[in-house]
Each structure stands twice: as structure tokens, then as C-alpha cells.
């Protein structure tokens, strides 16, 4: 693990305030989810998961067909589809569009996909004013931080952090009451909405048979961003497509429940192109940007293709004992938690963040709660295996391989195992592992782990004694 991450994790673990914030927030989200997927409340929960998974599998296995269908329907609705290989393509399109329309002011609703390509900073460098309008994202934009969590981006900050931030950046009086802080943001952002030329949203689902982008939000900023400005640009990964509008009940029932324990988010917007001829309002122009950014590479890997089924509910984060301890900023990329550990190495290159798939106890809680039944532990194991193999081919870590070879030999020789056990017990005595052994490679291994005390008598010895008596 690179030292920078080790330090970040160490800092997260020793920050009591942060530990309690992350622990209690994720616990609340876990409990809320549990209430609304209970058998008495949603008897067909398991069937819905099966269905959602089957639909995702089918769509991704035939992705080119559904992408072309989506494009044809968007065009028929009077909108345009923009294909983007990566963030550069997205930025080129947006800056070109802004220039052509003489626009400078952009409002954004929350989108992990745009975080992935660091859109805000790049547009700002092109002299556009970009304002995040989801409350959590707005706070993070002011603080120059990236999201801590897929659905609760500012989960790690307290009202006091927000009070300082607003006072500093907005020049308002320091306000620690959360309701009043929210109203300050409402007031500031409402002005931004009314003045904006372009509204950028993400997309929870792209509906192929309708040419529609579906966004699920709670605050209403997603609606404002897609209603008030003359131009709406939706940016979504190519894996977000689903075949039919009639598939939405399945996914909508799972998404809100898994994310925040809501049967439906407050607003579910089904947006099919620009305002029609006689409609009272809505944007005049509609663009759907389909982003690849590594997804087609992942698609080619049959065994790990299911990583693309993810609907970004964040449930695996909330249930992950590792995420809950080390927090979202200890992960190297915008996607954290189990799904982050699975997709980061696949998007960024296997050896770029090679330590990540190993930072898991493989407890399986994530797979149990995933609404599309992604087998996350299996994917983590597959990644580990690939990483180890590619290392063995390269320079590799000789020490680790030797250690495991020795371990394997010892485990196959019970006599030796027992001898070493007695030796360890004799050396350790009552005081645990003696200091000299806490240096070197063993020390590094022990730094983050507690080894249980070595018993004075082994199980075998006790067993023999019992048989003898």
C-alpha cells in the first residue's frame, strides 16, 4: 500500500469525531434500508433483485443494440446524443456548446459520473462558472473536497464545519443551525438557477425504448437544473441504459430503498427530450452524453462484466466494515467502498491501485445487500488473483511468495507445525509477541493487526491429555 494511503487511513482511524460521524450515518442508512426491504413490507424484494440483475445482464450483453436504440429515440424526441470516449470528449463538447450559445453559467445536479471525469475543475479552467446545487455537493465544492460517499457526499462534515465554510466562502454570518444553513444554500443557489444558461445532470437510468433520461433526487435541484436553463445536458455512463420504460418499476423500487430507505426518492424525473411544441415550459435543447471512460474495456471481461450492473445506491458502502472504519477519502478514487475497490483497479489500471482489492475481509455483507446482486467478494478475489499473477510475471514481491511457500509447507507437515507452535508459545510467554519480532516484515504485518495470545497448551496437547485420562 502506498504510504499516502496508509497515512490517510491512519488519520481516519484516529479521528474520533470522524469515526463516530461515519459509523452513525452508515448505521442509520442500514437501518432505514432494512425497514423497507423487510418481507412484511416488500414481499417480492428477492424477486425484484433477480429481475433487476437479469435485465442488467441482458442489456449489457446486447449493449450496442440498446445504445443505438437510445440514440435513435433521443433524436426522434428532438434531442441529441453525444458520444464521449473520455472526459476530454465531454469537456470539448461542453466548451464548444457554451461558446456556440454564448453561455457561461452552468448549474449542476449531483452526478458521480461527472466526478469521475473531474468535470467542474476542467470547465472552470475553460472560464465557465460551474455551481454544484445538491446541498452536499455544494458544500464540498466550497470546501474543495471530493465526495465521501456515493449518495451522501458530505457525510463526514459536521454543522460546525459547514458554519465555518459558509461564513468564509459566502460572507454570511456564522450559522450553526442546520435548517438555517440549508435555507442559506437555498437562497444563494436559487439565484444561480434563475441565471443559468446550461443545466447539467447525471442519469440514473437511460431508457432505450423512450430515449429518456431518468434522474432520482430528493432536494429538487435536479428538477431546477433540468427545467429552468434553456439547455439541459445529461451525462451518464453507457452502462446506465435499460431496455424499456416498463423496467422502471423494478429498478425504482430497489434504488431508493437500497440507498436511503425511501420507497421512492422525492422526485423521479423521466425526461424525454426538449420541451415539446405546446408544452408550457422546460429546456429548449436536450443533449444526452454517453460516456465510455473505460467501460468498454471492462465489458470485454466476461468474468467481471457484472461490475457494470451497479446502480450506485451506495448500500455496499454502508454495510462494509472496512468503509465504515477507513471512510471514503481513504480510497484512491471517487468511488469508495466495495464497489470502489472493484471498479477502481479496472478503470484505472490493475496495478495502479493494486492494494485496494486486498483491503477487504471478504465478509460478504456487500453482496447480501446489493440490489442487483453483484457478487462483490468474488470480484475482489478475481482481482487479487490477477494482480498476484501479473506481479509474479514482473518483479514481484519475493518475500511474500517465499513466506507463503513456507507457510504452505508447514501446513502440510503437522509435526513441524506443532513444533513451531510450541516454540512460539515458549518465546511469547504471557506477554504476547516479544519486541524483537515486532520489527522487520513481521512488524509491518502486525502494525494493523492484533494477534490473539498464543495459548500455553495447544489444542493437540489438550486432546492427547484428554484421551490419556
Amino acid at each position: 500500500m502506498p504510504e499516502a494511503y496508509e497515512q490517510a487511513i491512519g488519520a481516519a482511524l484516529s479521528d474520533e469525531k470522524l469515526q463516530s460521524a461515519v459509523y452513525s450515518s452508515t448505521a442509520r442508512l442500514m437501518n432505514k434500508r432494512k425497514e423497507v426491504v423487510a418481507a412484511g413490507v416488500l414481499p417480492d424484494y428477492q424477486e425484484l433483485r433477480e429481475q433487476a440483475r437479469a435485465i442488467k445482464k441482458h442489456t449489457l450483453d446486447n449493449l450496442d443494440y440498446y445504445l443505438e436504440q437510445f440514440e435513435a429515440r433521443v433524436t426522434a424526441n428532438g434531442g441529441r446524443v453525444i458520444w464521449a470516449r473520455d472526459g476530454d470528449d465531454v469537456v470539448d463538447f461542453l466548451t464548444g456548446l457554451a461558446k456556440e450559445k454564448g453561455s457561461r453559467r452552468v448549474v449542476k445536479s449531483k452526478s458521480m459520473t461527472t466526478e469521475e471525469i473531474e468535470l467542474n475543475g476542467r470547465l472552470e479552467r475553460e472560464h465557465l462558472e460551474v455551481v454544484e446545487t445538491d446541498l452536499g455537493e455544494y458544500i464540498l465544492q466550497l470546501a474543495h473536497q471530493r465526495p465521501y460517499h456515493i449518495v451522501a457526499p458530505a457525510l463526514h462534515l459536521t454543522r460546525y464545519d459547514v458554519a465555518d465554510l459558509f461564513a468564509d466562502k459566502l460572507g454570511v454570518e456564522r450559522e450553526v443551525e442546520i435548517e438555517k444553513q440549508t435555507m442559506i444554500a437555498r437562497r444563494v443557489l436559487r439565484e444561480k438557477f434563475l441565471a443559468a444558461d446550461i443545466g447539467i445532470s447525471g442519469g440514473n437510468f437511460l431508457v432505450a425504448d423512450s430515449g429518456a433520461v431518468v434522474i432520482c433526487t430528493n432536494e429538487g435541484n435536479g428538477r431546477l437544473a433540468t427545467t429552468l436553463p434553456k439547455i439541459h445536458v445529461a451525462i451518464a455512463g453507457i452502462e446506465k441504459v435499460i431496455p424499456r420504460a416498463q423496467d422502471l418499476p423494478t429498478f425504482l423500487k430497489l434504488l431508493g430503498r437500497s440507498a436511503t430507505g425511501q420507497p421512492l426518492t422525492v422526485y423521479t424525473s423521466f425526461l424525454a427530450g426538449p420541451r415539446r411544441e405546446r408544452e408550457a415550459d422546460g429546456p429548449e435543447e436536450f443533449y444526452a452524453v454517453l460516456l465510455d471512460n473505460g467501460r468498454t474495456k471492462l465489458l470485454a471481461d466476461r468474468a467481471k462484466r457484472e461490475s457494470l450492473y451497479c446502480i450506485r445506491c451506495g448500500s455496499c458502502l454502508n454495510h462494509c466494515p472496512v468503509y465504515r472504519k477507513i471512510g471514503g477519502h481513504s480510497y484512491p478514487w471517487v468511488y469508495s467502498g466495495p464497489i470502489g475497490a472493484v471498479i477502481t483497479p479496472q478503470y484505472q489500471g490493475l496495478l495502479h491501485d493494486a492494494w485496494l482489492p486486498f483491503a477487504s475481509s471478504l465478509c460478504g455483507a456487500c453482496a447480501e445487500v446489493c440490489p442487483v446482486k453483484i457478487d462483490l467478494p468474488k470480484l475482489l478475489l478475481a482481482l487479487r488473483s490477477e494482480i498476484v499473477k501479473s506481479r509474479a510475471a514482473g518483479k514481484g514481491t519475493t518475500l511474500e511468495r517465499l513466506a507463503f511457500r513456507a507457510w504452505s509447507w508447514v501446513m502440510r507437515h503437522p509435526g513441524v507445525y506443532e513444533m513451531l507452535g510450541s516454540a512460539a508459545s515458549a518465546i511469547a510467554g504471557d506477554g504476547g509477541i516479544p519486541a524483537p519480532f515486532r520489527r522487520g516484515p513481521l512488524g509491518a504485518w502486525l502494525k494493523g493487526r492484533d494477534l490473539p495470545a498464543i495459548p500455553q497448551r495447544s489444542f493437540r496437547q489438550m486432546w492427547r491429555a484428554r484421551k490419556g485420562s
Binding site: 446486447n62 470528449d89 415550459d281
Partner: protein, 219 residues
């Protein structure tokens, strides 16, 4: 160029050819439950009240008008051109502006009003949701910009839930550029997971269910 690149990479990854039809898709899962109107109203009420919305049942257009006036409580409002609002005579309530045709004017009026009054195409009993299909009669802004939203919904528009909605409207894009589900007041919990209503959208949602004469007879 990017288009061909992405489609080519996708097809190569999947081993598919240009123009190859997809394998048979799993059937869409639509399950419409049976529920009587009384049961639906009760479920709608429970779901919306849990989110701090309110539900009234009015047994005549005049009663619905009274109800709206009471909910407005003296606030100014913008009303949509929904036929049900005209039927109830909402426009004659003091402080209510209706029939705004100019887009700029509508926007300014909505930004300044204390409440927005709309109809709704459907209501969903199991989640307490309103279904708003954007049209010449129904602007999106009225249920969005003002701090309170009042919707008058004829009872025969009460569906059991999402499955029934998408069985009745399998292709929303054929009707409109925007179909919106509203489930309770705008909310956030982005700071310390403390719930605050009305962050960007309306912090109040009131639904008046209108039982028409014919329906009373049927019942």
C-alpha cells in the same frame, strides 16, 4: 468518431456484429395488485402523511375549492391550467393567479408566489406520489419554484402504484417530454443526516382528492 469508436469497442467486447438483433429480453416485471378505492385512499394518506404531506378528500368541486383556500391560508399562488382546477373554481380564490400564458411571466410569478396549485395526472396509492405529465395545461415550474405545492386530483386517477402506472402509460415519451413523480416535500439530509424540508423544491405538499358526483354514485 467517438460514436464509431465506442460502438466498435462494445461490439468487439461482446462478440456482436453491426445490426445484430439482441437476444430475447426478459419480460418486464409488472404486477398490478388488486385494491379497492377506500384501501387506496388510506394507503395514499398514510404514505404521504409519513412524509409530512397532507391529504384531504373533498366530495364536490366547491368543497375542493374551500379546501384549497384553507390550505393557502392567505398566501399568494399561481395555478396551472389544469381542467380540474377550472372545474373547482380555484382561480377565484383571492391571491390566486391563473391562466398565465407567457413563459417569462410564468417564471417570475412562480418565483414570487407563496404556493403553486396544480392538478395531477395520477396519484400512486402505495407511495403517496403524484404523477405530473408536462403539457400545455401543466407547467413544470408551478410544482417546483414556490415553497408550497397544492395538488387537486380526481379520485378516479388514484392508481395502486408504479406497476399500474407503467401498465397504463407504457411509453411516456409518446405523450410528453417530462413525466415526473413527486413523493412528498423536497428534502435533504446532507448535513449530519438531519432532515430538512424545502431545500430546493416545495417544503409543503398538500393533496386534495376530489370525489366527483358520478364516482359517489358508483360507490
Amino acid at each position: 468518431m467517438a460514436r464509431e469508436y465506442i460502438l466498435h469497442k462494445t461490439r468487439t467486447a461482446l462478440g456482436r456484429n453491426v445490426g445484430q438483433p439482441p437476444a430475447a429480453a426478459p419480460e418486464a416485471r409488472i404486477r398490478v395488485p388488486q385494491a379497492g378505492m377506500e384501501e387506496r385512499i388510506e394507503s395514499f394518506r398514510q404514505a404521504l402523511e409519513k412524509l409530512s404531506g397532507t391529504v384531504d378528500v373533498a366530495d364536490s368541486p366547491a368543497a375542493a375549492r374551500e379546501c384549497v383556500a384553507r390550505l393557502l391560508c392567505g398566501r399568494t399562488a399561481v395555478a396551472s391550467n389544469a381542467p380540474v382546477l377550472a372545474e373547482c373554481g380555484v382561480a377565484s380564490i383571492e391571491g390566486v393567479r391563473a391562466g398565465i400564458a407567457d413563459r417569462k411571466e410564468l417564471r417570475a410569478a412562480c418565483a414570487a408566489a407563496g404556493a403553486g396549485i396544480t392538478g395531477a395526472d395520477y396519484a400512486l396509492a402505495d407511495t403517496g406520489s403524484l404523477v405530473m405529465i408536462s403539457s400545455p395545461e401543466e407547467a413544470r415550474m408551478i410544482s417546483l419554484l414556490p415553497p408550497a405545492h397544492i395538488a387537486v386530483v380526481p379520485l378516479d386517477r388514484m392508481l395502486t402504484g408504479l406497476d399500474e402506472l407503467f401498465s397504463l402509460v407504457p411509453a411516456p415519451a409518446a405523450l410528453t417530454s417530462s413525466m415526473l413523480l413527486i413523493t412528498g416535500p423536497s428534502r435533504t439530509a446532507d448535513i449530519e443526516q438531519i432532515l430538512v424540508r424545502g431545500v430546493h423544491g416545495p417544503g409543503e405538499v398538500h393533496v386534495v382528492l376530489l370525489q366527483r358526483y358520478t364516482q359517489k354514485e358508483e360507490a
